[in-house]
């Protein structure tokens, strides 16, 4: 029951007017980020990091702001799925299937409202799961030694491509590149200069924030320039809200199932929100069978994936908060914020920075209520903003990224570096090299090296120590599976997901 006590303390942190203001701001901006095509959650959170940093926000406030943005982005993704038939972010893909047909039938307002409720339910279930599971996992993680941590990091990289990932080798390459970048600078334990080439700016290493912003924001701009999609797309009219209370109640079982499945998918390494929404949609389809009219605008077809992806979003915070090992792009970016706030992520955070952890969790609960309130009456605002074409939006977003990076150090050197990362990111994305493992490598590289060092010092240089405990062996095994399974099941699952989308009557 001490959890309840901690949670209350968390609420005390999150409910101060100052933090509440940032939570509200974050929720609003997050929804906006989620709904605008071309501005995914990871991207949006990344752009906000330098701002949170330069504002000199206290750590708990900064984390509350970014967590609210994260939760908001998960809500926002559905808006463009329903109105434009383009997912605002990847997990919202499944919402297109029934959301857009519903909108075409003149029930756009209903679809938006019910999906907001489903998002709320999913998120609530996920957050409750997080509250119950995280402390247990954190306590368990305290038994990890350096060797286990080293194996855990490997596991994180191995499963990052996800079960639907295309080419696991490319995930490995991406992660290695990221870790390599993180080794630039003065070595912490020996003081040796590594790969600095005598350039003063490189002595402290490459700031991962500018790398992240470059890789996400700048490369996204370049993608839009290349595709010449500046004009935006036409959207469906909103229509009047006709949703009845009875209809909402009838979807409750769907919301519960979706939220729970999503949460599980979020916690597991390698699954993530996209799979969470996919699984809950498919399950709902098979549970209801012929009773549903999936693909033609069934209301439960909107509820299931939304509950699923929001449940997964909260679930994904579990490994990030307890182990310091994020399982998705956005949680990786949140981890970047933690590290730049000088907080060592991992199980110790629950004892040393309890106010931050529980403040964030409480903020997630409050943020959800705020989001529900924001998303039902204020939906019109977001819908109007959706019609801002990317040709105006993306340059402005790029400019905000420039301002953020510039304001950290007031040096134009960092800006050039960011552009280099952006162009590099564009080329690598073209070649199907995923960005998230690069970022995770940048973040976890130093920790990995440190743990390797500790493990080998403890064992007097005996390398077998890395796989001597049963726990470490288990982690190595899962890591191995994480690399092998996608080559077997990946094509199958991806084909299924693609077929599910093609079956939709609106694939134009």
């Amino acid at each position: 029951m001490e959890t309840i006590g901690f949670l209350m303390e968390g609420f005390a942190v999150a409910l101060t007017p100052y933090n509440l203001m940032f939570a509200l701001f974050g929720a609003f901006v997050g929804t906006l980020i989620g709904c605008l095509p071309g501005l995914g959650p990871a991207n949006g959170v990344a752009i906000l990091i330098p701002l949170a940093f330069t504002l000199g926000l206290p750590p708990e406030t900064a984390m509350i702001l970014l967590t609210s943005v994260y939760a908001g982005a998960m809500y926002g993704g559905r808006i463009s799925s329903i109105l434009l038939n383009i997912p605002g972010d990847e997990p919202a893909m499944m919402t297109c299937l029934d959301g857009y047909p519903m909108a075409q039938k003149g029930r756009a307002a209903d679809a938006l409202a019910i999906s907001a409720i489903a998002s709320f339910a999913g998120s609530l279930i996920g957050t409750i799961g997080l509250i119950m599971l995280a402390p247990v996992l954190a306590r368990f993680a305290l038994t990890f030694g350096p060797a286990e941590y080293f194996a855990l990091f490997l596991l994180a990289f191995a499963t990052l491509g996800g079960i639907t990932g295309k080419n696991p080798m490319k995930t490995v390459i991406a992660a290695t590149l990221g870790i390599m970048i993180s080794t630039v600078g003065i070595d912490i334990s020996t003081g040796t200069q590594r790969y600095t080439g005598g350039v003063l700016e490189l002595y402290e290493g490459i700031d991962f924030i500018l790398a992240i912003v470059g890789l996400f924001a700048i490369s996204e701009l370049l993608f839009f320039v290349e595709a010449r999609m500046g004009k935006g797309r036409s959207k469906v009219e909103m229509g009047k809200l006709t949703l009845t209370f009875k209809e909402v109640v009838s979807t409750l079982p769907t919301q519960l199932r979706g939220g729970l499945l999503g949460f599980i998918a979020g916690v597991l390494p390698g699954a993530g929100a996209s799979l969470g929404s996919f699984i809950s949609y498919t399950l709902e389809k098979s549970v209801l069978g012929k009773k549903g009219r999936f693909g033609e605008g069934d209301i439960r077809g909107v509820v299931a994936p939304e509950a699923g992806n929001n449940g997964a979003a909260s679930g994904a915070l579990v490994p990030m908060l307890t182990l310091g090992v994020p399982g998705s792009g956005t949680t990786a970016v949140l981890l970047a914020m933690l590290i730049s706030l000088n907080i060592t992520p991992g199980p110790l955070m629950f004892t040393q920075n309890a106010d931050i952890v529980w403040g964030v969790i409480a903020a997630l609960l409050i943020g959800n209520v705020l989001l529900l309130v924001l998303n039902i009456p204020m939906i019109g605002v977001f819908v109007r903003l959706l019609s801002v074409p990317p040709m105006y939006l993306l340059p402005i977003v790029t400019m905000v990224a420039f301002v953020g990076i510039y304001s950290i150090s007031h040096s134009t050197f960092d800006l050039y570096f960011m552009i280099v990362f952006g162009v590099g990111g564009f080329i690598l994305r073209k070649l199907d090299i995923p960005m998230v493992p690069i970022i995770l490598g940048l973040l976890l590289g130093p920790e990995m090296e440190k743990n390797l060092g500790h493990a080998l010092i403890l064992s007097d240089g005996d390398w077998t120590t890395l796989w001597s405990s049963p726990l470490a062996i288990g982690l190595w095994l899962v890591a191995g599976l994480g690399l092998v399974l996608p080559t077997v099941f990946g094509p199958l699952l991806r084909r299924r997901m693609r077929n599910a989308i093609k079956e939709g009557p609106v694939s134009d």
């Binding site: 010449r228 004009k231 105006y392 993306l394 340059p395 400019m399 510039y406 199907d432």
Partner: protein, 148 residues
């Protein structure tokens, strides 16, 4: 030949990995002798992993992506130049002027009408400048407008 993109990337990564690994071997042994892990241990491991990965890419490349040619490629180059020039001019010209030019140029090249683009640029520049300098008291460069 298909998979040229991956093969070239693989070759580039191989060169990178070998150079990275070779440089690591050149560092002097740290003061106090090598204990377990020296500064070169971890980079050496990374270099080996990357060598294996790059060889795999060259042997089993994926199908090629569609690379931009002609007009889109030109637009890309223009955008990158705009970004570099923006970074270059940010301090000398000041935030407002350089931002107006950069955001305007980018919007225009993405297909917006000329006047609309630069007006968007100006408005966003002024709003962000005001927000940062007066709202958040973080100073952005004044540049040419510094006297006012």
């Amino acid at each position: 030949m298909t998979g040229m993109g991956d093969r070239i990337l693989g070759l580039f990564l191989l060169v990178l990995a070998v150079a990275y690994g070779w440089v690591a071997q050149q560092w002097p042994e740290p003061f106090g002798g090598a204990e377990g892990v020296g500064p070169e241990t971890f980079p050496t491991m990374l270099a080996i992993v990357l060598v294996v990965g790059s060889l795999y890419l060259m042997i089993k490349p994926d199908a090629d992506a569609k690379w931009p040619v002609g007009r889109p490629a030109l637009e890309l180059v223009i955008s990158i130049i705009v970004l570099v020039v923006y970074a270059l001019l940010l301090e000398p010209l000041g935030f407002i002027i350089s931002t107006t030019l950069a955001v305007g140029a980018l919007s225009w090249r993405m297909g917006a009408p000329v006047v609309g683009s630069f007006v968007t640029g100006l408005i966003s520049a002024v709003v962000v400048f005001g927000l940062f300098n007066y709202g958040l008291s973080l100073s952005l460069p004044n540049g040419l407008l510094g006297g006012f």
